[in-house]
């Protein structure tokens, strides 16, 4: 033990506490950084070890202080729970957004929505039935019918373009996700190298964990701890990142739906995402919401809307073909009102035979007659329990229930995510008060170590003067 050993001990205190105050400064600087985990300096007494060198003579005093590690404050259980819950939340939010858009497309209840237009259409049939000679009433009927058809076509077109937008969004997202998977793998490698060299790559780990969190919200990844500080990721059982190797998802491709699928009937394809030989299905994350929208939500409502159009066309034509137009005699002209080829919401339209020909609207049930029986029978369809009105109302009701459920689900899940997030941040977040206290402690310890230096200096000074 040299006479200067005391200076070394004081020096180790000075260094350790300066390092501690640096770490505290780093924590305070990152108080607002998303994904940052506060860091702690673990101090440990420096000793010469249990077995001293041959000529050393331990005085059992200790050799000062040493920094054992700089660790991240994180609760792995809470991190994983947050990953899962925020993934669910992202999926629910997507569905909520989509059902909200659907509600906007149908725009009910409203004085100008399809329900109101259908009501007006039946009222127009009443007018024609009451006064079959009135060409004005007949023209008004044709105009209203044209408007109903246009509204149906518009809604169907909106659904189709919404599907296209969702598909584009999904493709963009898959590209982005692939990039992130690559970066996670790359960070894994750097972390493993650093850990292997005995370093503490906390910042790299924070970066990687932030990426993992984003991936959790986007595609609902699950994370598993790997060796040497790495993390492995999988989506619903299919591995996407394994150590330093990342797999890629391929953008959604339309596949022919399995035979008998109702989707084929309305011109929709099922979309899938593949990863190598596997078909990836998403259980959560925004991807789950988008894929559900493309494969279930939009096709379902388009199918319902097609049902409404089909009922309207079939019901009206069935009666219209049995009637006579204004001033018509002889055998039944058997004229269609709606184009019988257009039985979907996207193709519905007036039959070419009646377009611009109000007198050809078959209002009468007898030749050369002004009875208006057919028009009256058509008007009575408005209260039919199986009519287009009822079908449409039911559809709007279903959409309302579905959308409301989505909103409530998001609210409930939002509460859960918030709770987990708060607990997580309670562990890993920076508290400025706490840092200030620690900073004060570090400062005092530094000052005290410096004082030790000056005391030892004085002692040595005393010793030197003795020698004079």
């Amino acid at each position: 033990m040299s006479d200067f050993a005391g200076l070394n001990i004081a020096l180790s205190g000075l260094l350790a506490h300066r390092r501690a105050s640096e770490i505290i400064g780093n924590n305070i600087s990152n108080a607002n950084t998303e994904g940052y985990s506060r860091q702690r300096v673990d101090l440990t007494p420096a000793t010469m070890g249990p077995v001293g060198a041959v000529f050393s003579r331990s005085r059992n005093v200790g050799e000062g202080v040493r920094i054992a590690a700089v660790t991240r404050a994180r609760d792995i259980l809470l991190e994983r729970r947050h990953l899962a819950e925020s993934g669910h939340q992202a999926g629910y939010q997507t569905i909520q957004e989509m059902t909200g858009l659907l509600e906007g497309i149908f725009n009910e209840p409203n004085d100008s929505g399809l329900a109101a237009q259908l009501g007006d259409l039946w009222a127009n049939w009443h007018d024609v039935g009451t006064d079959p000679t009135n060409l004005g009433a007949r023209s008004a009927l044709l105009a209203k019918a044209d408007q109903v058809a246009a509204t149906l076509r518009k809604a169907a077109t909106d659904l189709t373009s919404l599907r296209d937008e969702v598909l584009t969004k999904m493709q963009t997202m898959v590209d982005e996700v692939n990039g992130k998977l690559d970066r996670v793998a790359e960070l894994n490698e750097r972390i493993a190298t650093a850990v292997g060299s005995g370093l503490h790559p906390n910042d790299l780990m924070d970066q990687r964990d932030l990426l993992v969190e984003e991936l959790g919200e986007q595609i609902g990844v699950q994370a598993f701890e790997g060796p040497a500080g790495t993390v492995n990721l999988s989506v619903n059982g299919i591995s996407v990142v394994n150590g330093n190797a990342a797999m890629h998802l391929s953008a959604p491709a339309a596949v022919a739906p399995p035979g008998g699928s109702p989707l084929a009937a309305v011109g929709w394809n099922e979309y899938v995402i593949t990863q190598g030989p596997f078909r990836v299905t998403f259980a959560r994350g925004e991807a789950a919401g988008l894929m559900d929208t493309m494969n279930d939500l939009l096709p379902r409502y388009l199918r319902d809307l097609n049902g409404v159009a089909n009922t309207l066309v079939t019901d009206v034509n069935a009666l219209h073909t049995t009637g006579w137009g204004l001033g018509e005699g002889g055998p039944v002209p058997a004229r269609n009102f709606w184009d019988p080829a257009g039985t979907t919401a996207l193709t519905i339209g007036l039959d070419a035979a009646v377009v611009g020909q109000p007198s050809r609207v078959a209002a009468s049930g007898n030749p050369n007659s002004l009875d208006g029986y057919i028009a009256q029978a058509l008007a009575a369809l408005s209260s039919s329990a199986t009519g287009a009105d009822r079908e449409y109302q039911t559809m709007v009701g279903e959409l309302g229930v579905e959308s409301q459920a989505a909103i409530q689900r998001v609210a409930i899940q939002g509460g859960i995510v918030e709770q987990v997030d708060v607990e997580r941040k309670a562990v890993s977040g920076v508290s400025i008060d706490e840092e200030m206290i620690n900073l004060t402690i570090a400062q005092q310890a530094y000052n005290a170590s410096a004082r030790v230096v000056s005391v030892i200096d004085e002692m040595l000074d005393t010793l030197m003067r003795m020698a004079l």
């Binding site: 108080a31 506060r38 059902t99 909200g100 509600e103 149908f106 009910e108 209840p109 329900a115 109101a116 259908l118 009501g119 009222a123 009443h126 007018d127 039935g129 009451t130 006064d131 000679t133 204004l326 001033g327 009468s364 007898n366 050369n368 007659s369 002004l370 009875d371 208006g372 029986y373 009256q376 008007a379 009575a380 408005s382 209260s383 009105d389 109302q393 039911t394 709007v396 009701g397 959409l399 309302g400 229930v401 959308s403 409301q404 989505a406 909103i407 918030e418 997030d421 708060v422 607990e423 941040k425 309670a426 562990v427 890993s428 977040g429 920076v430 508290s431 400025i432 008060d433 200030m436």
Partner: protein, 307 residues
């Protein structure tokens, strides 16, 4: 309860979340008040949305039924008025026939016959009465008039079909009277006949008067034939009267239903102002309290107190 350790991010996140929620509730209430509606989209109240849609379509149908009933009322009133006038004409003819049968009037019979001819033409004109451009006794025929103006023969386009008006769900009224049930069957015998339509009966009376035919098959049979014609008309007229009362019932029922439906729709869609305003007041003070508390909580830290 919050965890034992409170970090700054966590505190701001919680406050921000609470403030956002409070503000969202405030905005929702303001929207309800400014629009007066509480249902904007189906998800606001799915069951109520369906009920609103059904009520609205019922209301529209009800309005249409009201228009149909008003049209029916017009037809029935026209028929009623026409037949009242027609019966006074028949009574006049009846008086003329009685005068004509009197032996002292032998020299005046041609004058009486002229008068009968004029009344006959007036009755034919009544038979051609129209309502809103439709001949009311022509069935559903596509024609502006029912009878030939001089012979009284029904035109070729005239038929016996019913003119119907739907006045409620499943309730249809026949609003016309056909020419046969009102005026009798036209036979077409030259010089008229007592077994034919009213106009033929009048023609025969005129012929008999001019020929001084007072026999049992002549003027003697005229009164019986006139009474039959008047009875026939009376039946049609009272049927029209009964239907008019039915239409009145329908219209008042319609009016009640209209009020009920509007009330129901308003109950479902419209905002209860008193309640919402109270909610708004409460929410406003909640929000202000939240704001001031947040401002106090977030501001200070130990930094302010250390040298």
């Amino acid at each position: 309860m919050l965890s034992s350790r409170i970090s700054n991010q966590m505190a701001t996140q919680l406050s921000r979340g609470n403030l956002t929620n409070a503000y969202a509730r405030l905005v929702d209430l303001q929207r309800q008040i400014s629009s007066g509606k509480q249902i904007f989209k189906p998800s606001d109240a799915p069951a109520d949305t369906i009920r609103t849609l059904t009520h609205r379509s019922d209301l529209r149908r009800n309005t249409q039924y009201e228009r149909n009933a008003q049209d029916a009322e017009g037809w029935l009133a026209t028929i009623d008025n026409t037949l009242v006038t027609a019966q006074t004409y028949i009574n006049k003819v009846r008086d003329l026939v009685i005068r004509g049968k009197d032996g002292s009037q032998a020299t005046n019979r041609d004058v009486i016959a002229d008068e009968v001819d004029q009344l006959r033409l007036s009755l034919i004109a009544l038979g051609n009465t129209t309502y809103a451009g439709r001949a009311v006794f022509a069935g559903t025929g596509d024609t502006q008039q029912t009878f030939n103006g001089t012979t009284g023969a029904p035109l070729a386009a005239v038929n016996l079909l019913e003119v119907r008006r739907p006045v409620a769900d499943g309730e249809t009224l026949v609003v016309n009277a056909n020419n046969v049930e009102t005026f009798g069957t036209y036979i077409g015998t030259a010089g008229g006949t007592y077994t034919g339509s009213l106009f033929e009966v009048l023609e025969k009376i005129s012929t008999d008067l001019r020929n001084d035919d007072l026999s049992a098959t002549g003027l003697e049979a005229a009164l019986g034939a006139l009474d039959t014609a008047r009875q026939r008309m009376g039946i049609v007229q009272s049927s029209a009267g009964a239907k008019t009362r039915r239409v009145d019932d329908v219209l008042s029922r319609n009016l009640n239903l209209d009020g009920d439906l509007r009330h129901a729709i308003s109950e479902l869609e419209d905002v209860d102002m008193a309640k919402v305003l109270l909610d708004l007041k409460v929410q406003e003070s909640n929000y202000q309290a939240a704001l001031s508390v947040t401002a106090r909580v977030i501001q200070p830290s130990l930094v302010d107190f250390l040298r």
